[in-house]
């Protein structure tokens, strides 16, 4: 996935719009921004409160991505974190891609997931997962988890740290 700087801004605007279409309230009101770090990396983080009937909402979706420069005005998504904190049902689900060399070396994978129920407690630090194509897919997966009447079954996931 490769985008120019301006296309990356459009991408983030689309992500914000998608979250709001699902009824989430994005914290960065009124203007989301992308950080341009000294290394040339572009990165952003969003927190969107889910409409859980509380003000402010306690449950939220978080979106963080880091994009590395790969050519003049061209960036590729290098890392991501898509997270859901459902405080009403007291669980956390997350899809992560970061420290890819470490995960490749220790676990022979690039991406991993988190599953905590209750929040803050887990019998496994990292679960095996599937790559998430972009923030839209991440948001849709997490909104789908939030609306699902069945709570996540962490025990059904494959633990990477075990053994």
């Amino acid at each position: 996935m490769r985008l120019s700087g301006s296309a990356l801004e459009d991408y983030l605007a689309d992500v914000v719009e998608l979250l709001e279409r699902y009824g989430a309230l994005v914290d960065e009101d009124p203007q989301p921004f992308i950080n341009a770090s000294p290394s040339g990396t572009r990165w952003f983080e969003l927190r969107a409160g889910l409409p859980d009937g509380r003000v402010p909402s306690r449950s939220a979706i978080g979106v963080r991505e880091a994009w590395q420069p790969v050519a003049a005005d061209a960036f590729e998504r290098r890392e991501y974190e898509y997270e859901l904190l459902d405080r009403d049902r007291d669980y956390r689900r997350a899809f992560h891609l970061h420290d890819r060399e470490v995960f490749a070396r220790f676990f022979d994978v690039v991406v991993h997931e988190h599953c905590e129920q209750p929040i803050g407690t887990s019998t496994c630090d990292h679960y095996a997962g599937q790559p998430v194509g972009d923030a839209f897919a991440g948001v849709e997966a997490l909104v789908g988890t939030w609306v699902d009447p069945n709570e996540p079954n962490c025990g059904a996931l494959t633990c990477l740290d075990a053994g």
């Binding site: 719009e17 974190e81 009403d88």
Partner: protein, 86 residues
Amino acid sequence: MTERRFLTPAEAASVLRVSTDTVLRLISAGTLPAIRVSPRLIRIPTPAFEAYQAGRTPSRRRVVTRPTSTEPSLGAGERIPDRQPV
């Protein structure tokens, strides 16, 4: 929050007093946000449905890029093998 967090297309159709096919068309057109849980299972998040009913559509935000001295730190705080004390 105890109320249900989603509606099925049939339930949305009942509330809107249209056919389920009409709701599916709205979803397909992107007018009504919905989550496809499986090839045959679609759920409409209640807040998204309420926003649609109220005629609320998010206004598109303008995103800007700004310099920062901070590098991203994804994974910070996680227990990762290389970071754990030997």
